[in-house]
Each structure stands twice: as C-alpha cells, then as structure tokens.
C-alpha cells in the first residue's frame, strides 16, 4: 500500500546513465518518472518504474547498487496551482521535503507528485485529510 521508488548510485562519468537506460530497455521496463540528484562526483538516479522487482534484478545483475525506498505519491489535477495546493498542506503541517519530482499521466487529466519526507505516514495523513489521493505501486502499472 505504498509507492516505492528505486534509487541507483551512479558515478559521474560519461555514458553512465545511458548504460542504465539500456539495461532497463532490454528488460522492457517502462519509466514513469525519474529525477537525478547530482553532485560533482556522483549522482543518485531516482525512478518510478513499471516493475520494481524486474528492474532491481536486472540492475543488480549488472553490478549496480539499487535501493527501494517508500515515497509518497500524490495525485493532483493537471492544472496551474495544484502543486502549490498540495505543498501548502505539507507546509502547514511543518513537514520538510527532502526532495520532490513530478510526472503527468498519458490521460493528461492528472499529474503526480513524488515526494520524499522523513515521515511518510504523517504526510499521507495530512494530504488525505486535505482531499488528495495517494497512489501506490499497483496504480503505476495502470497509468
């Protein structure tokens, strides 16, 4: 009952990302969303994918370090101001964001925020109370 994100440790070298993309492509993994935290020396690739188990297996098989982390997936309307609304809720509850990224569904009616906070449960509670819907892994496959 949660949204799980995969993170991969990537050395900051040319071709590193292309290699990961190819590994996933060969396993027929569909990427829903991704974000990269980059530093001078390394990067952390965070992804929401169609099949966590398979993606983890193929990446590990290639020697990558992969970690599954529970994050908060929030469904919002694909309209101006909707993200601000969701973030306002977290702000009022004094929940600090570690990071956030977003993606749109192909139906184009909704967008989704992927949010990483220290206390997922609390974030989900306040967002639900404010009328937002959470998504989980099983929803991702249907998007």
């Amino acid at each position: 009952m949660a949204l799980n994100q995969l993170s991969v440790f990537v050395d900051n070298t040319p071709g590193a990302l292309a290699d990961i993309a190819e590994v996933l492509a060969n396993a027929d993994i569909n990427l829903r969303a991704l974000s990269i935290a980059d530093t001078e020396r390394f990067g952390i690739l965070r992804m929401i994918v169609s099949d966590n188990k398979m993606a983890t297996a193929v990446l590990k098989g290639k020697g990558y370090i992969v970690k599954e982390t529970e994050v908060v997936g929030v469904k919002i309307g694909d309209q101006p101001g909707k993200m601000a609304e969701a973030l306002k809720v977290l702000d009022l509850a004094k929940i600090n964001l570690e990071y956030l990224y977003a993606f749109c569904a192909r139906t184009a009616r909704h967008a989704y925020l992927v949010i990483r906070v220290a206390d997922n449960q609390k974030a989900e509670e306040v967002l639900t109370a404010a009328g937002f819907h959470m998504i989980e892994d099983s929803d991702v496959a249907k998007l």
């Binding site: 440790f9 952390i44 970690k67």
Partner: protein, 441 residues
C-alpha cells in the same frame, strides 16, 4: 667554499674508509654486548664481534628493520643505561608504528654538528639569523636544526611550525636569513608573503634548508623564486638521529652523507645483496658513533642511488639522490607517513569492504590526498546528504588514524581500476625524482 668541519668533510676517501673500519669494529662490540636483539640476530647467523675487522665485513652483519624496532618497543634496542640518556625523539607513526630513539649528550652533540655542517654548507655563518619552522617536540626536525644553528653560533628563532602571521612578522622584524622547514611549508610561506604584498627581494631570507618530505626539482625552483633564496635539501630519519644524516652543498647535486658517522650501503630490496656504487636500490645505514641507539645495517626502505663522483664543493663524502621511492608501500603525504594497511583498518572498522584506492597528487606544491571507496548496498541511501554524511564521518575516522585528513569519495561498485583482477591500491601522480635528474647523468 664553506665548511663547518673542513678537515673531516674533505678527508681523503681512503681515510674515511679507515676511520669507518675502526669505528665499526668498536660499534659492533658495543652493540653485541649491550643490545640483546642484536646479539640474538648475530648468534643466529653465527657471527661474532671478532669476525668484523673492517667495513669489508659489513655484509656479514644482519639487517635491522623498522618492524624489529617496533617489536622491541620501547627500550629493546637501547644500548646504554637510561641514566646516561638525556632525550628521546619519536617517529610520527600512528597505530603502534611508533619507534622511540634515545640520545646521550654525546649523541645530541654529534647530531647537532651534522646539522651545523648542513647550515654552513648552505652558506650559513654566525652572522645569520635562522628561523626554525619545523615542528618542535617528538619530531626531530625542530630540535635538529635548532641545535645545528646553535653550534654554528647563529641567532636562532625557535618558531616551530604553523602560525604563519607570526612566522612572517618575526622573519621581517628580526631579519631571518635562513629558513628551516618542510618544503611544502616553505612553498606556503612564499605564497603567504606574496598575498601580503611582500616581494621576494623584500624579505631578508637568503637560503633555506628543507626536508622531512619528498620534493621535486620543480618545487625547488618554485620555492627559490617565490622566496628569493637558494633552497637546500636535507635528509635523515629518527632511527639514525634525525635530519643531517646527509645534506646538500652549494652544488645542489645530491646530498653528502656524513660518512664519519654513518656507513651507507645500497642493497637489492628483494635479496638483500649489496649493490655496486651507482646502482638504484634500498638505502641502508650503519651508525658508527651513536651510543644510546646504535643501529647496524638499518633498512630505510628509501630507494636511491649513491655516487662517489668528485664534487666541486671539495667535500669527499659520498652523495645520495633524493629518495626516488620506497621498497615498502609507505607513502609520505604532506610529511606524514601513511600505510595503505591503516586505511584498510579504518574501512573494516567502519563497516566498509576494503575496496579502495588512494590517489596522491601534487597541486601548487601541495600534496592532495584522496581515497576512493567502493559503495555497497548497505551504505547507499536515496539522498545526497546521506552519502556525503558517510563520506564525512569516514574522513574523520581516517584523520584520527592517519593524523592527516584525506578527502573520501564513495564510488560505484567495481569502478576502481583493477589490474589482473587486483584492485590498484595506490596511484601516486607526484613525479618526484627521475634517474636522469641525478648528478647530471
């Protein structure tokens, strides 16, 4: 030409050898009688003091290594009663690698004379003002040059290391003409003077004696330029007394070994076989006059070449190159001895697998020190701060162990270069000395 003890320093080679032979016979007897580990080693080889009749018999004697000294910590190699000793010094080693060296007053006097020879060879006299910016304390650098400066009769500024503002103030206000410190600190002082708008011809320095860490000819030129001085090299190790085992003369072509006090040999580090003059190999010292801590055939692990080629300064003492490398895996980084095994110990203690690589380079005359460590799953987190936090705590643990802070970088698994399946542990990009730089060869 300047000499502190001209007669000794210009003695014909045949006389040097005769003197060394006499002293060696006496020293072997002293050591055999008073140092149990030596007696044991010699008995094992079936060598008696009377078998040693001169320097030609030196190869019959066993070697001594740093491990031997550590095993006998603290007083196993002490050859006189403690009441006859007046001081100790100690190596910088961490993790039980410390070696304590003892000195009688006689040992101190001879050591200081060696340092005095270095100061005079660099053009010093009792009219000079010597700023000693080596560390004082257990480290031999400060005390050695301090004592040498006294022997020459120079005004001595016992600054010790660090506190650059004060160093510059005293240098300028008291008119220091000689600077003694590590080459990297000399380079740093050069930059600091420039930052303060003091040009090379505005400072009172005329020469510097720099040692305790490897440095290049390029670095020498850069220090000479930035400080407006002549820069001289000095060599020594705590085990044999400290700086002043050998020193450069005005020719700046290798360091003259004080052969009235030390016999130098070059050996094949693998077989222990003595190699002929001009060969590259491991430097081995026998101290002929040390009373408290006399070492016979001490393996320095420094790789260099000796040359008896005549020096135009008039000194007859044999010359050695700067150390060109090590016969063990020790690295000298910013003057501190670092063993890869220490890094491995920290990694294992902190829960990392020992897949690492040390990268040492020299940028703007300062050593850079990086350690790459391969990540594993347990160490990985999805936030940058989790990873940089791990790097920082590993850095702190390394600093505690090594006494010097490396930059630690976590890298992807299997990203460290491997050669024939074995990870390449050390990449030292510092080009220190090449054979071709030696004695104009």
């Amino acid at each position: 030409m300047n000499f502190f003890q001209k007669e000794t320093e210009t003695m014909p080679v045949s006389e040097i050898k005769k003197l060394q032979s006499e002293k060696l016979v006496r020293q072997v007897r002293h050591v055999y009688e008073h140092v149990e580990p030596y007696r044991r080693k010699m008995d094992e080889l079936g060598v008696k003091p009377e078998d040693i009749r001169g320097i030609e018999d030196l190869p019959k004697l066993p070697f001594v290594t740093k491990n031997d000294l550590r095993d006998e910590y603290p007083k196993g190699f002490l050859a006189v009663p403690v009441k006859d000793c007046v001081r100790i010094h100690s190596t910088s080693g961490t993790t039980g690698r410390r070696v304590v060296a003892f000195y009688t007053q006689h040992d101190i006097d001879l050591w200081e004379e060696c340092c005095a020879r270095a100061i005079v060879a660099a053009g010093g006299s009792n009219e000079d003002v010597v700023q000693v910016a080596y560390g004082y304390g257990l480290f031999t650098g400060g005390s050695g040059l301090h004592g040498g400066s006294h022997k020459v009769g120079c005004l001595t500024l016992p600054m010790s290391s660090g506190n650059t503002d004060r160093q510059i103030q005293f240098m300028m206000d008291l008119g220091a003409t000689f600077l003694c410190c590590t080459p990297s600190y000399a380079a740093y002082l050069g930059e600091s003077l420039k930052e303060r708008g003091i040009s090379p011809d505005q400072n009172p320095l005329k020469a510097g004696i720099f040692g305790a860490e490897p440095w290049t000819e390029e670095m020498r030129r850069s220090i000479e330029e930035s400080l407006g001085i002549k820069a001289y090299d000095i060599y020594g190790l705590t085990e044999t007394s400290g700086p002043g085992v050998s020193f450069e003369c005005c020719e700046q072509q290798g360091m003259h070994i004080n052969e009235d006090h030390f016999i130098a040999e070059i050996i094949d580090p693998e077989t222990g076989e003595v190699l002929p003059e001009g060969s590259r190999g491991e430097l081995v010292f026998t101290s002929l006059d040390k009373e408290a801590f006399p070492l016979l055939r001490y393996r320095t692990r420094d790789i260099c070449i000796l040359s008896r080629k005549k020096c135009s300064c008039g000194r007859t003492f044999i010359r050695m190159t700067k150390p060109m490398g090590r016969s063990d895996d020790m690295l000298i980084i910013r003057g501190v001895n670092v063993f890869p095994s220490q890094i491995e110990t920290v990694l294992l203690k902190e829960g990392y697998s020992p897949n690492y690589q040390i990268v040492v380079d020299r940028v703007n005359n300062n050593d850079t020190f990086d350690i790459l460590v391969e990540m594993d799953e347990a160490m990985f987190g999805d936030t940058v701060s989790a990873i940089t936090g791990r790097e920082k705590s590993l850095m702190a643990a390394m600093r505690t162990m090594l006494g010097i802070g490396p930059a630690v970088h976590l890298v992807a698994p299997h990203s460290i270069q491997r050669s024939e399946g074995k990870a390449v542990r050390v990449i030292d990009k510092r080009k220190l000395v090449t054979d071709s730089q030696w004695l104009g060869k």
